[in-house]
Every structure is written in C-alpha cells, then in structure tokens.
Amino acid sequence: MKTNKEEIRKVLQIVKGKDFSEDHDLISGGCLDSFELLMLIQKLEDYFQICIPLEWISPEEFNSIDSIYEVIQKAAGQNA
C-alpha cells in the first residue's frame, strides 16, 4: 500500500476543516481534542482501509503527521 503524508493531511482536513495546515504538536498543541482524535482514527481507517489496534492509540502516536505515517505503515503491514 502506498501512503504519503499529503494523504494524511487530506484526512486531517476532513476532520479539522479545509485550511488546516499543522503537521506536528497535533495533540500536545491542542489542535485535536479527544473526540477529534477518535474521528481522525475512524477516517484514517476508512481512507487507508486499515484497522488501527486499540493498543496503538496514544497521544504520542498521533501527535504529528510523521508519527501517524508510521502508525499507518505499521497497520498496513499487519493487515496485509
């Protein structure tokens, strides 16, 4: 599966609005609240056709586009 960071941004924009441009400190910087994180996870799962296990859901893993990228790669590997 091919994932690029631009696609992750696209999903973030579905959740946060079309001009959302942050790529780090998403959680520590207060961009996403806990409800938005849940929404983001559901949208990422739909978009990339993956399943993100509950154990991986933590503020660190979703704090930046880079770390989200890692999560998606890992999840895609698991589901494959």
Partner: protein, 504 residues
Amino acid sequence: MAEVIIDYLEQSADKYPKKPAYIDQYESVTYEELRDRTYKIACQLIRRGYEKSPIAIYVEKSVQCIAMMLGVLYSGNFYTVLDVDMPPGKIKKILSVFSPVGVIVDKKYRKQLEEIKEQYDFLSGEDLLVKGHDSSLLEEKRKHMRPTDLSQVVFTSGSTGMAKGVMLSHSGIISLMESKTKYFRYNESDIFANQFPFHFVAHLEDIFCTLKTGATDYIIPKELFFSPKHLIKFIEEKKVTILFWASPALCLVAKYGALSNITLPHVRMVAFGGEVMSTKYLHFWKKALPKIDFFNVYGSSETGSGVLCYKVNRVFRNQDSLPLGFPIGETDIFIIDENGKSGQMEGELCVKSKQLAVGYYKNAEETAKKFVQMRDKSGQEVTVFKTGDLVKYNEYGELVYLGRKDFQFKRHGYRIEPGEIEYAVNALEGIKDAACVYDRQKEKIILFYSGDIDDGDLRKSVKKTVPHYMLPDIYIRLGEIPRNVNRKIDREKLRMLYEENGFQ
C-alpha cells in the same frame, strides 16, 4: 453540621489525617497535608487584605488547583477557576466581568496571561505557599463566614457576548454534598476518578463529595483520554469505585471499543450527565459491567450541578432517550406552559432547590429573567430557575427531555449559545452579519456569514476569540443572512439552506 464548605475539610482532616485525599500525575496529598497547605494559602490572601472578594484561579487541573480553591474559601473570599486552554480573548471577557482583586497563576502559565496585559494583581501559586500559617488569623475569619456567602462563580456560555457567571453559595454546595452522599452512599472507602474540568459545575460531584466523605479522588491525566486502553487500565489499577463523568467521555471510551474484555471489579456505580447519554453506548457499558448501577444525572450550573437522577432500571432501545429521573435532595420541580402556568404534563422545566445558584454575577437583569418567583402546591412563594429545557412525563411517569426552548445546544459536554459565537464573529473586521446553527447528527457547528473577508483569515481570527469547543466546523458565505420581520435570524431557513445544498 457543616455551615461552610471548609468545615468538611476540617472534619475529614481530623478523622482521616493520613489518608490520601487527591492524587494527580505529580503528587498525592493526605487530608492533613491538604489542610496545612490550605491554611498557608488562606493566610497569605488574608494578609493581603482581601475580604469577601473575587479571586481568579488560573492553574491547571491538579491537586494544587484544589488547594488554591480551598485556600480562597478559607480566607473568606470566593473564586472562579479559569480554563488554561481558553483563548486570551475569552479569558479577558471573563476577567472583565469577574473583576478579581487577585489572579492566582501557575509559573507554567504566567506567560499565557501576560499577553493579556491587564491591571490585575498576579499572585504566584508558589509564593502563596512559602510562609507558615497563623491560626488566629484563620479563626477570626471563620467567625465572619456565613452559609449564604458566595463560594464560587462558574462562567458559562452567554448569548450577548458578555461572559455569564453563575454564583454559588456555600450552603448550595453543602446541600449538594449532603444529598449526593446520601443518595449514592458515598463513603470513606470510595475512590473517585475525576473527569470533569474544574471550571465546570459538575466537578463538585466528585471533588467536593470526596472532601465531605473522606474518600480519595484521582484526577485523571488529560492524556489518558487520548489513550482509551490506558484509561481503562488506570481505572482498574487505581481500584476506582465511582465513575461520575460527562456522558460524551463515557461514549468516547465505548466508541473506541475499549470496553471489550474488561472487568473493572472495583467499580460499583457509573453516573453521567452534562449532555443526553446515547443509549447505544450505554448498552456497551452495561454489557461490560452488568452487575453495577448506572445513573443519568440532570442539572446545570444554575441548579448547582445535578438535581434530578434516574437509576437505569430497564432496557432501552437505541432510539429511546433516557429519562431525566426524579428530584434528589431538597429539590422540587415545576412544569410550566407558555403562560407560566405550572402543573403541566409537558412544558418548560423549572427547578426549586436548596442547591440553586444565587443568580448571575453582576447581572440583575438576566437573574430576574431566569430566577423567578412561583407559588408551590401549598401556595407558598418560592424561587425557581427556569431551565429553558422542554420536558414531558412519559407513560411510566418519568420525566423525559424534549429539547431546548431557545437555541442553546451541547457538544462534547460543553454548553454553547450560538449567540456567543455570532457575537464574536460579528465583532471581526470585514464581517457584515453572522449566524450559527448546529447539526446534531454530525455534531457540527455551521457558521453562515456575510461580508468582505477571506475564508482562511476568518477562520484564523475566529480561533483567537472563540474557545476550541465552540469553533465552527463549516463556514458558509452568503450574500445576506436571512432574518425575519423582527430582524431575528431565520434559523429554520439557514438549516434548510444547509441541508438542501449538502454542505460538508
């Protein structure tokens, strides 16, 4: 018998000196230590000459924040807790209404407040703790405290752009502490896990009931709500017995699927409030914890937190809504029709309670509108709060919620007046007119605006004045905002426009 809130601190500190009272991610305090800390803070405030005056607390949710709250009360003053995550614009508005004689600020957050260059007396939380206490000062103060004294002001969303503060007296909060302890049989062996923010009235339910009963309250680190698996583990490890949370927080855990294969053997009850609880997610919880009691609690800042309670006693379908339940403590309800006549089966809910707020802070006009006189069954004149909530009795004789009389709505546990968003947007340069509607199904706030402003710029400006939980999700530019003959916003038309055009 306690007269003011701090009498309970004295009682618990005498009875359970070495027992942990509150625990957060940084520290744990015993009742004795908490009392000692509270004494120090109070004496410093008294030495400054503050008397029955407003003091703002700008400290993150922590054990330290609780010590500050109780310290202010011990000094005979009253407080408001400010949300450290609120944008400066909103903080400024609250402070201008509250006009505190002092603002207690954590070192960590000093910078955030310095941006709001105001004329307030800043007190560092650390400085309040350096000096020892003087018992004679405290005894003298205690003599002058009355149950009717103000204890705190809770700020909520107001439609006029002015911050609206709800005044709570000592006796109101004591009534809550007593009736809830009795109803839920809280005792010193209970362990609470606090979820409600301290600037919400509902924090009284766990933070203050802990104080009365000598229980222990864990302040759940905020990060755990981003980590559902760890949150559940936390509850299990800490042997938490009581969960009294905002409904959306319980739903969140259920939605993540974090409830499968859990046991939580220590939890003896789950209560929720702040917003209508989804029966679908309640099922998940009931399935995970089949042996314990679940309670739906209804209340608001003006009713001094929960006044009605429903113990879930039958199975609900997903489309059913949970009853609001029955009055607890010294509470009575009235249902009035459009002409204000009480004794209806359906209409606006009015609440009479010992817990009731004293009114709105420095806002006699709004107080007179919402806190009104009514005759009870015996013909006696009583003060009731008009909740604005429309309710009716169902076939079981239970009270159920129908909707709002005005345009207020709730999202993620926060109470929001569209008027507050509209007021903030209208104040921006380039905006001609603005109006908000709420899409309940998708949980989205839609902002309609007219004027000459770039969409991106508008979003950025709105962020600076509107708290994150009130931020609109969808922005729609119109040539003109539809208004009816009375110049009132035509929200029905806006809703139609939104639905017809399938804006996403």
